[in-house]
């Protein structure tokens, strides 16, 4: 169990600045997701924490102990990758116990067995301990990989897109599992992903990165409801946020900021409601372009003055294609950004 602090961490590959002056504090037992598109520097950051890349500048502290010059093997870091690195010729039992048996002072047999059983219960492979790992389903392999890293009780746990090879249903299942396990064992975890659903659903805090620069570091709900800039607003959320010029909204909806005048307004699709075009709640008027029924909800695509707006609603009355409708919005949910794309508070 370890707290981690990154101080002005920078990694400069000859042609690109992969990570730029990153400051980040992760508390003991916290579950932090590094979220961003490919090439945003999240994997480089993780590699530096693990010691596999040397920072160009800056420092990494584990419990206030500087890590520069500490070899990767000495950092006591557990890893789970996208391609479950398990030994396919060994049984699940042998895979799980490997880390303990490989130690210089290996614990006694009974102790190993006890530990293997405990971890197997946690990750859900207790019933298949005698199976050859190579014969397992992809899903079970990933559980074994998870368990194998957990058993050596690393100070911190780094996970690099561990679920991206799993099928959707199992991914949904594993999200809840991993979050539950992490909460139970109180392990510090850093989870690297490009999938905002994974970051949102599991992490205590999310560090959103783009082009090597930290964009926002906050709880999932904060990142969702109060994105620091337009990049975060766009990147987070299963249904893309709606942007429109602030000038198109009725003036009373716009909060006046201290300095810059807001240029862009944004609102999440579930905070828009379709109303009759002549309803006095209607802030905007638009034409229905497309209705996508998702079962649990509908996504309604609207055209407003050449802009596309999306509304997510419970499937109730569906407007017809081409119908003119009014859009009501909740002023408290309206986000405003200045001309640099930064949030206006």
């Amino acid at each position: 169990m370890t707290a981690i602090r990154l101080e002005r961490l920078t990694k400069d590959f000859r042609s690109v600045l992969a990570v730029d002056n990153l400051d980040l504090s992760i508390s003991d037992g916290e579950f932090v997701a590094l979220l961003g598109p490919s090439g945003c520097g999240k994997t480089t950051t993780m590699n530096m924490i693990a010691g596999m890349e040397t920072p160009t500048r800056g420092q990494i502290y584990f419990d206030e102990r500087a890590m520069s010059g500490v070899a990767p093997g000495k950092r006591n870091v557990g890893f789970v990758f996208q391609n479950y690195a398990i030994f396919t010729h060994m049984t699940v039992q042998e895979n799980l116990s490997f880390g303990l048996r490989a130690r210089k002072h290996a614990p006694r047999r009974e102790e190993i067995d006890r530990e293997v059983k405990r971890i197997a219960e946690i990750v859900g492979v207790a019933s298949i301990l005698d199976r050859k790992a190579g014969r397992l389903s992809v899903n079970d392999m990933q559980k074994v990989a998870l368990g194998r890293s957990m058993i050596v009780q690393p100070a911190i746990f780094l996970l690099d897109e561990p679920f991206s090879n799993l099928d959707a249903a199992f991914r949904a299942y594993m999200r809840a599992e991993l979050k539950h396990i992490q909460h139970d064992i109180g392990q510090t975890m850093i989870y690297v992903t490009h999938d905002q659903v994974e970051a949102m659903s599991m992490a205590d805090r999310i560090a959103v990165m783009d082009q090597g620069v930290l964009q926002q570091y906050a709880t999932p709900m904060e990142v969702y409801e109060r994105p620091a800039n337009t990049f975060v607003a766009r990147f987070v959320g299963s249904n893309p946020i709606n942007f429109l010029p602030a000038s198109e909204l009725p003036a009373h909806l716009l909060r006046k900021g201290g300095g810059d005048e807001p240029l862009t307004a944004a609102i999440r699709p579930e905070y828009l409601t379709i109303v009759a075009p002549d309803c006095d709640r209607a802030a905007l008027r638009a034409k229905v372009n497309l209705v996508e029924p998702l079962g649990a909800k509908d996504v309604i695509h609207l055209a407003h003055d050449g802009q596309e707006l999306r509304v997510v609603s419970r499937p109730q009355r569906r407007p017809a294609l081409g119908e003119h409708v009014g859009i009501a919005l909740d002023p408290a949910r309206l986000l405003l950004f200045d001309d640099h794309g930064q949030a206006v508070s």
């Binding site: 949904a172 809840a176 659903v197 299963s238 998702l294 079962g295 649990a296």
Partner: protein, 372 residues
């Protein structure tokens, strides 16, 4: 434009049966999706329709003309492969021109059709580039263009959006749907993504291990799945499945779980007393409640922004539910949940649907097991 029909298509690779008696009818101008997990035989189905695989049994018809033995190039069907298979040595223009040149279309006509297609797909500025110089989304459009430019009788698309990132995929989804609507071309679309299968097509066929499980409109499949396999491949997070025991009391069917009882208000066939069965309910039809309901504990919460998935342990099983906004619940907190009885499904021991209430509240009733 044409209708496409497969009749009892069967295809074996060695000891593996990739397709088993697949009979589908796709209407002229229809947007038809084939949904299934990896390995379900979706790609084999497309390859058999276009003639890259020869079926071991059954036939393929286009506009009621049997084309089972016709050479692929003579079927007038286009395909967009999952890996796109653009010609790397040729420019975008060369890629689009290739099928037209084979068909000996006059040069001026080729230029006209390519320009027309390029405008439709917004790739008019890319015509002189090689595929290596394109982004993922652009390659996707070019591959689509190469299929479109021939003006084929039908188009087959194999997971066309799978390599795109989430935002682009969303954009392409509505664009592709609009494009298909404008062109009115018969489209067979293979995907493993249930959202794509829900939102885009007119009808969906769900495939499992080479067999058709169900064909219908997306919402029909969502609300009246024919089996719990179908129920689990469509909808996210997937439908909750709760094992239970069938009990006949007072001539009426009761399905019993340690925490609750589902009572059928009308006679239900195909379930016999003492047998096992499954109760299915989608996460959005399970609700947190402040008073009534079954007691459980929060296993984990998964905030998604606009909504939160809450995993609740009830009687040793985890049930997922969706609630709007932030849940404000912490792990292990005690909660009560209710089931929307008008949205329940009953499956027999083999997973075949026995009853889907599908909005009708008069079929089933849910009661607390402790209070009966």
């Amino acid at each position: 434009m044409a209708s496409v029909r497969t009749e009892a298509l069967t295809k074996r690779f060695g000891s593996i049966t990739a397709l088993r008696d697949v009979s589908l009818e796709i209407a002229d101008g229809e947007f038809f999706a084939v949904l299934g997990p990896p390995g379900a035989g979706k790609t084999t189905l497309l390859r058999t329709i276009i003639g890259l695989e020869t079926p071991d049994g059954g036939d393929v018809f286009v506009d009621e003309e049997r084309i089972t033995e016709t050479y692929p190039g003579d079927r007038d069907i286009a395909i967009m492969f999952q890996n796109l298979a653009l010609y790397p040595d040729k420019t975008v223009y060369g890629n689009l021109a290739f099928p037209l040149k084979q068909a000996r279309v006059p040069r001026r006509e080729i230029r006209r059709r390519i320009e027309e297609t390029a405008v439709k797909l917004h790739i008019e500025r890319l015509l002189e580039r090689k595929p290596a110089k394109l982004s993922g989304g652009e390659r996707q459009r070019v591959a689509l263009g190469r299929a479109l430019v021939r003006e084929p009788r039908a188009m087959l698309l194999d997971e066309p959006l799978s390599a795109l990132d989430a935002l682009l995929r969303l954009e392409m989804r509505s664009e592709l749907k609009r494009l298909q609507r404008d062109l009115g071309r018969t489209l067979i679309y293979v995907t493993h993504d249930q959202v794509e299968a829900m939102t885009m097509p007119d009808r969906v066929a769900v495939l499992r291990e080479g067999e058709v499980q169900q064909v219908g409109r997306p919402e029909e499949i969502y609300h009246r799945p024919s089996s719990h396999f179908v129920a689990s491949v469509i909808g996210s997070p997937p439908m909750n499945l709760i094992p239970a025991v069938v009990e006949s009391a007072n001539g009426r069917l009761r399905v019993v779980h340690d925490q609750f009882v589902v009572e059928a208000l009308a006679p239900v066939e195909r379930l016999s007393a003492g047998g096992s069965c499954y109760i299915g309910i989608r996460p959005e039809d399970v609700h947190l409640s402040s008073g009534e309901g079954f007691a459980g504990r929060v296993y984990a919460t998964e905030p998604l922004g606009g909504e939160t998935v809450v995993d609740v342990t009830i009687g040793g099983r985890i049930i997922k539910l969706i609630t709007a906004g932030a849940s404000g619940l912490s792990q292990d907190a005690p909660v009560r949940v209710t089931f929307d009885a008008s949205r329940l499904h009953l499956f027999d021991a083999d997973g075949t649907t026995v009853l889907s209430s599908a909005g009708d509240g008069s079929l089933l009733r849910v009661k607390d097991a402790g209070r009966t």
